[in-house]
Symmetry: D2
Subunit: 288 residues, 4 copies
Amino acid sequence: MANSKFEYVKNFEQSDNLLPNTWVVVRIDGRGFTKFSTKYGFEKPNDKRALELMNAAARAVMAELPDITIAYGVSDEYSFVFHKTCSLFERRSSKLVSTIVSTFTAYYVHLWSTHFPETPLSPPLPSFDGRAVCYPTVTNLRDYMSWRQVDCHINNLYNTTFWALIQLGGVHATEAENALKGTYAADKNEILFSRFGINYNNEPEMYKKGSVVFRDYELVEPGTHDTATEADNLAEPVPQSKTQTENDKKRRAKARIVVEHLDIIKDEFWDRRPWLLSNKPGKVPKEP
Amino acid sequence: MANSKFEYVKNFEQSDNLLPNTWVVVRIDGRGFTKFSTKYGFEKPNDKRALELMNAAARAVMAELPDITIAYGVSDEYSFVFHKTCSLFERRSSKLVSTIVSTFTAYYVHLWSTHFPETPLSPPLPSFDGRAVCYPTVTNLRDYMSWRQVDCHINNLYNTTFWALIQLGGVHATEAENALKGTYAADKNEILFSRFGINYNNEPEMYKKGSVVFRDYELVEPGTHDTATEADNLAEPVPQSKTQTENDKKRRAKARIVVEHLDIIKDEFWDRRPWLLSNKPGKVPKEP
Amino acid sequence: MANSKFEYVKNFEQSDNLLPNTWVVVRIDGRGFTKFSTKYGFEKPNDKRALELMNAAARAVMAELPDITIAYGVSDEYSFVFHKTCSLFERRSSKLVSTIVSTFTAYYVHLWSTHFPETPLSPPLPSFDGRAVCYPTVTNLRDYMSWRQVDCHINNLYNTTFWALIQLGGVHATEAENALKGTYAADKNEILFSRFGINYNNEPEMYKKGSVVFRDYELVEPGTHDTATEADNLAEPVPQSKTQTENDKKRRAKARIVVEHLDIIKDEFWDRRPWLLSNKPGKVPKEP
Amino acid sequence: MANSKFEYVKNFEQSDNLLPNTWVVVRIDGRGFTKFSTKYGFEKPNDKRALELMNAAARAVMAELPDITIAYGVSDEYSFVFHKTCSLFERRSSKLVSTIVSTFTAYYVHLWSTHFPETPLSPPLPSFDGRAVCYPTVTNLRDYMSWRQVDCHINNLYNTTFWALIQLGGVHATEAENALKGTYAADKNEILFSRFGINYNNEPEMYKKGSVVFRDYELVEPGTHDTATEADNLAEPVPQSKTQTENDKKRRAKARIVVEHLDIIKDEFWDRRPWLLSNKPGKVPKEP
């Protein structure tokens, strides 16, 4: 075929398969979202519509890619987790990252008008970048998730106080910044409460905890499973019968993908949802 | 800060900077576009609206990322080329790929309704995956571009004949496939002409050549520049004054981004547009 | 400094740090050892002197690089294992591999005359190549070690029978090969026993099991430690006091590096030597 | 086969093939050579025997690996260059690096007693680490080589003056260091000449220029070849007949591998030895 003369250029493609038997986290971030949020008048410190649009896009990504077991979002970022035994796209990094980023963007743009019916999108459009990171053990993975949730907490407490000072206290940004320099969490809580009558604990959970997206099955009793150790012990994907694989697929498809605002740092969240670490679908709860 | 306990997880990020002084090609491909094109009733063998939507999205990507010097699209794929001296995002592969894929997807979804006003998008939405490849020399880069254009030609000739057999000849897909097995280009041209009165040469250039997207400056006389050798000789980005950089930026911003359907295999295309390989903006043509 | 003009070339170095919290195995292999072993008249199927030279070189490597916790050798290959928390050379792959390969080669050449006093080395000299592989869990690591030891067994049984047929049975290589085609372990045992009176079980352990090199401490009672789970649970190097680090270092230095020929597939080997997985030096046995 | 249960561990090997059509430089460095040189009483600032041992080892590496076109050594480091079209070991980085490091070490240890007949080696033995770097163009490659040679010059001028101050001037190391702080090349030349009567230009070429190792063919007239451009234009290995490959191999084998101390920064060195960049063996000079 005439093309063969040029086909040698394919040899320049270098492989980028991620290490097997490790948890793959793909984190995406909004590009230039400070500017973007100003353009579309996002409310400060949190814009409910914008966060719900992020969550809707994340749910859609999980629905299209059943290999994702859990996702966590805060602000303009979202982390998607592939189970350590996942072999989607032969674990090629570019392919995993680009697919997630593209699917997420497609839904973000497509669903924009539902969440912002009064402010249609115009160029430059919102976009996201992404990267993949491998975590060898359950502890590493959970520490990653905890890292993001602690970050959410730290930033939200800061932002809530910062914007209270500006919006309710009437000070300028620089003043607010200075007022917060060197303060601890307790100080910020105090400022909020004593000066503005705001009890931070009563702030919406979505702002304080971020959003966790996962397939919902019946919760199990804590202490009945040791999925973390089981997951760490896994050496490679457990071979299972075609029927079993089909069953898993059906149960996964039946499960509702939920968006919740829970503590994912403590054990309880993981203990009661063993399917997140085991990758074995749980019992689909009866519809009420 | 409380977060420090978990922050060690950042150390698991591995660097993926692409080799300096090489041409970076990011190619994106539609995911599951066979199914997608059926769902939205794309015309066969080529759907003008779908191709123009691809081109519009590619133009938007180039407008948002001035570091891209040229792009080439065919069917549901597009290749974007960064100049060898480009240092955008420190040449991090994931960042380059995900940014292009995301921006392209955003425009593809956003502009859909302009090109397909009668068939609104519905989930699953269109998405793209992507990858980056490095090419050390101008010859390698041009061979890559030629590879894609020869591929376009081979596929389009095949598809044009295949669908003529079906749409005009009234045969089934398998029959058409069998009729084409082992045929050469000349045979396909003959089938088209003798059986259906189609002169392949008269087919639209966009179908035969694909689409080339680039900033348009005044063409130069062939033979007046040897940009290929100059580009190969470049060892690293040439340091230039701030004024020069600013000037370049302005000229680039002024230049119209055009979509053309030209032969990019022959030297002429490159000889007359030295800015593609030199990365120095040309003369902006006067508006008529 | 005048050099700065050229110093940009350092930017072409790409990082190759191995994923943290994974076991690093560096396996080295003799280059062209079939030819080499013929040149120096190695005995078939096993040359005791050559194997002991390999073992001596491996011991020296372990003595110079205390970060190696265990090594396993068979024929002309040796695998060296770095603990998952090891941060030697920032886990740079080339640096780890080249250091091991170079140190091993140095001792192999230096100690040659001790093991082969009558056949001095002459060019081309023996050399080795190497590569690093990461294993995320203890199971993966132990499966790697088992893989090599099973390989040792399979090859040694084959070679023992093959060379018995030639050396004792007087047949040609091709005949021996044909005689063994499609045979199982039991068949080979049978050939050895019935035709040559050889009980494979009585063959030297070094030939049947390969060689395991490690620091020797007092064995513990099986079942008293669960080091595998503890090791898998490790998220990152456990911070310890300077005194503790110094103590560990001293105990490691005091420990004898032994070469044994044990089963490393079964749990017992690992259960009784918890320091191999925990990286915490055991109790140094009293000299008799 | 029983082994299959464990063989999955092979899937953890990740590919590390270097980008095609780029010059591969493998640089090796002595490990802990400051301590090593003290142990064996190397003369300061340069030990002729030690440098000649390095050169002898480098020559041996080139003789065993004909794919290396040129090598450059200074102090305890050596850089080996593979031609951009080289496909040895499928360009796997670990394999290229470890092979060179191992072969070099083998000869260094083996030839030690020839160069240091009175001080036999004892553990810890000398060893080297190494790494591979890719350079896309001839300019990048030559700039790399120039970088090393400029470094040689800078270090040697410094060391020569430093040790003159100590050995001839009778000052302590710290004093010598202080005396040289902030000095330029001219200052150092002046110190050497006015205080110690040493004309730096008369120092041995090996110390001032380092050592260049290459296959020697008949020099060509400068200006008759433009190998740099030709090399840059190469897109992939030029296919040649078996006879041609055989001829090249023979001529390469016949060529003497020389160690010279020449300026490799200026064009002349490269212009007169086109085979270094073209990889086409030149004319083997007649033996005198």
